[in-house]
């Protein structure tokens, strides 16, 4: 999950900006730290060779320099930020080979649901994508907020109930990656890690066909069961009954997921976290 080992163009661009910014800043930070330590050492009271200059309290030239150094750095970095924000807007297209794959992501308490509306399938806690294709993600949440984050593909984004965020990604190399949530969402939060299988574009239709053979069907009723608080250790897959399911969730036609079941009226309700263990 190393950020410096990107597996797609978005992550590569994100981490390039990250590394470049660090080096731009190091160019002034390192000399400054050295100067602090050097001045502090040289002007120690016990050093008789250092000249005491109590009247050196203002110098227009020094002021000029000390305002300009950070200002110039920020102007440079501000440019990086402006250009980077526009090029790497999460909703900006990421051209790829073959036709784009539409994926609808729903964060549940405490698992991830991935709906492939065009393929009429859905998976939980595994995201399978073809290498090289543009991935058009639409994201929402069944209840509380989360962030969707695949470190090696880049660009974390919020999932919020009643709202849809957009994110375009591309995975370039076949292999297994991991994703997770970055926004604390309750007791099962650490178990919201999910697998990302990047497979060859040729194998993708086979995977879709195999997945579609499952008996489990995702519709409003089974979705409501799925959105109960709890942790999913397995990797269930579904045939998608209604391709508009995501819209029903995002527009709150399916009401937000319930919270913990109250066991007692007292201050410490027992929550889903207990079943987790």
């Amino acid at each position: 999950m190393n950020l410096l080992d990107p597996q797609g163009p978005v992550a590569a661009a994100n981490s390039t900006i990250l590394v470049d910014s660090v080096f731009i800043m190091l160019a002034i930070v390192v000399p400054t730290i050295i100067a602090i330590l050097a001045f502090a050492f040289w002007f120690r009271a016990s050093n008789t060779r250092a000249r005491y200059q109590p009247d050196f309290v203002y110098s227009g030239r020094v002021e000029m320099v000390v305002w300009s150094i950070p200002a110039l750095t920020v102007i440079l970095l501000g440019g990086v930020a402006w250009i980077g924000s526009h090029q790497l807007d999460p909703a900006a297209p990421v051209p790829g080979t073959g036709s784009p794959v539409r994926i609808q992501v729903v964060s549940l308490d405490w698992k991830w649901l991935f709906i492939y509306p065009d393929q009429r399938i859905a998976t939980v806690n595994t995201l399978t994508v073809p290498a090289g294709a543009e991935l058009n993600l639409q994201l929402t949440s069944s209840s509380v907020m989360n962030t969707f984050f695949i470190p090696q593909l880049g660009s974390m984004i919020y999932t919020m109930n009643g709202m849809v965020t957009k994110l375009n990604l591309r995975a370039d190399n076949e292999g297994k990656l991991q994703g997770l949530s970055g926004h604390f969402s309750g007791d099962g939060f650490p178990d919201m890690m999910f697998d990302v299988n990047v497979i060859s574009p040729l194998a993708f239709p086979d995977w879709v066909a195999a997945t579609a053979k499952t008996d489990a069907v995702l519709n409003e009723a089974s979705y409501k069961k799925l959105m109960q608080q709890g942790i999913e250790k397995g990797r269930p897959t579904y045939r998608l009954d209604d391709p508009r399911l995501f819209d029903l969730i995002a527009t709150q036609h399916i009401p937000p997921g319930p919270g913990p079941e109250l066991v007692s009226e007292a201050g410490r309700p027992h929550s889903g976290g207990h079943d987790a263990r």
Partner: protein
């Protein structure tokens, strides 16, 4: 009768909070019994609890912060151990407990450690630096402190009665709404902050008024010590920002108590509204904390370099620039919400702009040291340690202000490392520097230098060993608030961080030892001159500890570094005061208003949390009645006769005569 409160509120099944709570309870009871048996109660009541003396209140603020630092620090130790052991296992803390701990850690460290520490130092020092006898509203000052203490008490009560929030220190909805957090945890959080927030606001109004209206003769704005400027900026921010927090939490409470829908998922509530509002307070908040720390470093660096602060006007400008810009950057806390690129870029650049005045400050401290004669006493060590550490925190801060980089680092361990880097390296180091620097002023004896230096080095190294690994874990994709994890690559860094925590703990122990050793050796460490560091500003012109009226005469200020200036002139003209005419001094009377008001506020807060409505009414009426009684009192001042002032002041002058100062060598 007791609302939601019954025996199931006590976590009998969880040994850790129960034992911790029992120990604390026994300790408190033990101290109380000792106080009563030894007959210290009248002293405590008259000299401290009802005191409206800004110095006493400042000391009590710092004491509160220190005690809460131990509580928040214990939380930190538990978290670091949990993350070190919870690899492919549940560790030793179940989620509902771990989640309370990180929420409490954040809440306590910001609201009940950092805030009272800096407000305490400002209270203690600012009136002295301004050359005045007290703050603008002495009784209100006491109210502010006691309300802050109420908040701290409620947070600690949640340890054994009920639960604390499990939502993180900002209690984001919808997780913090009733449907997802039905317990009393969020209520404990919100009511503690509402009550202590009133205290903070009151303290802010008081200090702003003090700086603006109560300066001694000749102390115009551009002669004020830097700490007074940062106090002004910080308290302006408090006055502007804390009402936002109060309003935001009030809306959350309306959602939870009366079925409103400000931030719910349903019925048109908007969670992002909460995000915006809480950060509109939350970002200025970090500058509320760090600006006073900048002021402390300015005082310390200048004093121990034996020089006037370099580029004073530039520093003032930088401080006020930070004060204003800090209100315009809140959105950088949620770049990942999917706003458009223009919004992200504008807020990203605005955030970077704050780095300019901050960088200027660093360079001005650097050039203050240039050509100085630097004495490496403990406060100066903290300051140099701060400068080095804070630059690194600034670098990572500007990094997360670049939206595309933030898309990778948002809410990661990298971010956790960043804000600890600036809050520990900036605020905490500053608080410790100020503590070491002004302790002799408050108590009349110095702190032991050897333990102080040991504390610095352990804390300094411990900080790096704890938080550098968290930067790396963040670069490895680890997000924050993980109760357990299965990623092998994160494990070694979590173990190193836990070891670093052990080093930090040794630092804290050294700090405690320093206090113990210094109190035992106080006669040897006694400072009779009132000016142990060869200081430059007016707080050093009076005795240590200062008399209740601070100055027998309001000092006459003729330039920057007022006291240094006086010393130079005194040396050059070998002048002493010629038989001054002492006059009666009027000082504000002690008042139990603050304590009584906070007592009722505690009852009201507790009752609100547990829905005990009759008790809410009782507490509310009590608190209100306290104010009415206070408003009707006839005698609010007492007179210290001129002879007594003269006697106290002559002793001070005698002690000071033998003072050898660098000031004369100029």
């Amino acid at each position: 009768m007791l609302g939601k409160l019954d025996w199931s509120a006590i976590p009998f099944d969880q040994p850790i909070p129960l034992i911790a709570g029992a120990i604390v309870l026994i300790a408190i009871l033990g101290v109380l019994v000792w106080v009563v048996v030894k007959g210290h109660l009248p002293y405590l009541w008259h000299e401290w609890i009802t005191s409206v003396d800004h110095k006493r209140i400042g000391v009590m603020y710092i004491l509160l912060a220190s005690v809460m630092l131990l509580r928040g620090g214990s939380d930190a130790i538990m978290m670091r151990i949990q993350q070190a052991v919870a690899y492919q296992s549940q560790g030793y803390l179940p989620p509902e407990h771990y989640n309370q701990i990180f929420s409490a850690h954040g809440t306590i460290m910001i609201f009940f450690v950092a805030m009272p520490f800096v407000i305490g130092l400002m209270n203690l020092v600012v009136p002295l630096q301004l050359g005045v006898r007290d703050v603008a509203f002495p009784t209100l000052n006491s109210v502010g402190f006691w309300l802050t203490a109420t908040g701290a008490l409620l947070v600690n009560m949640s340890l054994v009665i009920g639960e604390f929030a499990r939502t993180g220190w900002l209690a984001f909805p919808p997780l913090s709404e009733l449907s997802y957090s039905p317990g009393v945890g969020v209520d404990y959080y919100a009511w503690s902050l509402q009550i202590s927030g009133v205290g903070t606001l009151v303290a802010g109004i008081n200090l702003v008024t003090t700086v603006l209206k109560l300066r001694t003769r000749g102390m115009n704005y551009l002669r004020m010590p830097m700490f007074c400027w940062t106090t002004l900026a910080s308290n302006l921010l408090i006055v502007a920002a804390f009402p936002i927090l109060t309003a935001t939490l009030a809306m959350l409470l309306l959602d939870r108590y009366l079925g409103f829908h400000f931030f719910t998922n349903e019925a048109g509530g908007n969670v992002m509204m909460f995000m915006n509002l809480i950060w509109a307070w939350g970002h200025p908040e970090v500058y509320i904390l760090v600006l006073p720390a900048f002021g402390i470093f300015s005082e310390v660096v200048s004093t121990f370099s034996g020089k006037v602060l370099f580029g004073y006007r530039s520093m003032v400008l930088a401080t006020m620039a930070i004060c204003v810009i800090s209100f315009m950057v809140w959105l950088h806390h949620f770049f990942t919400m999917g706003a458009g690129p223009d919004v992200n870029a504008i807020f990203g650049i605005a955030s970077m702009i704050i780095a300019i005045p901050t960088g200027v400050k660093i360079y001005n401290w650097l050039f203050t040291m240039y050509g100085g004669r630097i004495r490496f006493a403990t406060p100066m060590l903290w300051s140099v340690g701060f400068m080095v550490t804070f630059i690194i925190g600034g670098l990572t801060g500007v990094l997360v202000a670049v939206p595309p980089a933030d898309f990778m680092l948002h809410n990661s361990m990298f971010l956790v490392a960043h804000f600890h880097n600036v809050i520990i390296g900036g605020v905490l180091f500053g608080a410790f520097a100020g503590f070491e620097y002004w302790f002799p002023k408050a108590f009349g004896f110095r702190l032991d230098e050897r333990w102080g230096k040991a504390a610095f080095w352990f804390t300094f190294l411990g900080f790096y060993v704890t938080f550098m690994p968290l930067y790396i874990a963040g670069m490895l994709g680890m997000t924050r608030r993980m109760q357990h994890y299965d990623v092998a690559a994160w494990r070694p860094w979590m173990i190193i961080a836990a070891l670093g925590m052990a080093v930090l703990t040794i630092g804290v122990i050294c700090q405690i030892m320093q206090l113990v050793v210094s109190i035992r050796n106080r006669e040897a460490l006694r400072d009779r001159t009132g000016d142990p560091w060869d200081g430059r500003s007016l707080e050093w012109a009076t005795s240590s500890p200062p008399p209740v009226f601070n100055f027998a005469f309001n000092p006459d200020v003729r330039g920057e570094d007022a006291y240094w200036d006086m010393k130079v002139r005194a040396r050059q003209q070998s002048l002493e005061h010629d038989r001054p005419e002492y006059q009666d001094i009027e000082m504000p009377r002690n008042s139990p208003t603050g304590f009584v008001c906070a007592f009722f506020a505690t009852i009201m807060g507790f009752a609100l949390i547990w829905h005990i409505w009759w008790m809410v009414i009782l507490g509310g009426l009590g608190a209100f009645a306290t104010f009415v009684v206070f408003a009707w009192r006839d005698h609010d001042e007492y007179v210290i006769p001129a002879e007594e002032v003269a006697a106290i002041d002559r002793v001070n002058i005698e002690e000071r005569r033998g003072l050898v100062s660098m000031a004369g060598a100029v």
